[in-house]
Subunit: 197 residues, 2 copies
Amino acid sequence: MSGLHFWFSIGSTYSYLTVMRIEKVARDAGVDVEWRPFSVRKIMQEMNNIPFTEKPTKMAYMWRDIERRAAGYGVPCQVPVPYPLAQFDLANRVAVLGREEGWCAAYVQATYRRWFQWGQAAGSSPNLEDSLQEIGLDPVEVIARAESEETGRAYGAATDKARQLDIFGAPTFIANGEMFWGDDRLEDALAWAKAPG
Amino acid sequence: MSGLHFWFSIGSTYSYLTVMRIEKVARDAGVDVEWRPFSVRKIMQEMNNIPFTEKPTKMAYMWRDIERRAAGYGVPCQVPVPYPLAQFDLANRVAVLGREEGWCAAYVQATYRRWFQWGQAAGSSPNLEDSLQEIGLDPVEVIARAESEETGRAYGAATDKARQLDIFGAPTFIANGEMFWGDDRLEDALAWAKAPG
């Protein structure tokens, strides 16, 4: 089976669209997806990127564009949502732990749904605890492990790997060594995973 | 007939894709296109936008992405091309004049073709002169008028209008009052021009 690596950070707004649809479209295409959490915030800071929040007209467009595209995909979406995330790193450390233990996708879908459908910030209460409970995990125990040095090291290593791949944004897809950036490139990336070029 | 306004600057790289295909896809969709040159550079400077040129990994991705998408559209494309343009404003002043006189699209297509297929910078020699000659105009006479105060005022007014519409990048499409940014949103914009929402 062909494979696609889905690099993302919880906190990326456009990644909501991908999180809600990637499993289905990849399955339909016969492509395996590996979920790869990392810190896009750290990489963007290193690149001296000016966040959307300082560009009001661009940010207003972003919400409208996400809303329109969500409607096109038939995905519920109530924007704007709390942004940027106050607990960006905790949200993603939990995802990194989930990747080790096989519940990454389920957690990320649950937390994005609460963020973009109910307006509850990912990484914070009650979203974080409720999302973990929804997928059958003990929030207190999981959060303690997410905050451990070990998870911190894995999170740093994931971000180092992303930087090494020249990833500069999220969502990013890697298919047969080719990079695609943005939810609107998901179909192109799936096609490349099946037949490069 | 439904209408679409295509806001662009010669100098925007992704606009190459749009310039090469918009007339055909709009005709197929039964939508009229109005070409609206303005200075995206001025607006991006006002927004304190950091140009691609200071972000080498992002820029490398941009060339590759344009190359892939051009291939998908069947459009010839030899990247990278000279960027940014040394004569950005002159290239666009000529387009503003062309809009007044009905040869904007023909000029922009001719100059982009030379830029992205032959590697000759738009707005500079020999691209500018040859593009004007190709569409049956006298380069010396046209360039003199493009450099006039009158054309300068029209160029400034076009950019003011773009700013007033909250345009922050190029290409941008306006259809029934709705804004779409990026060549990859052209199909969405055409659909909106025919049936909003």
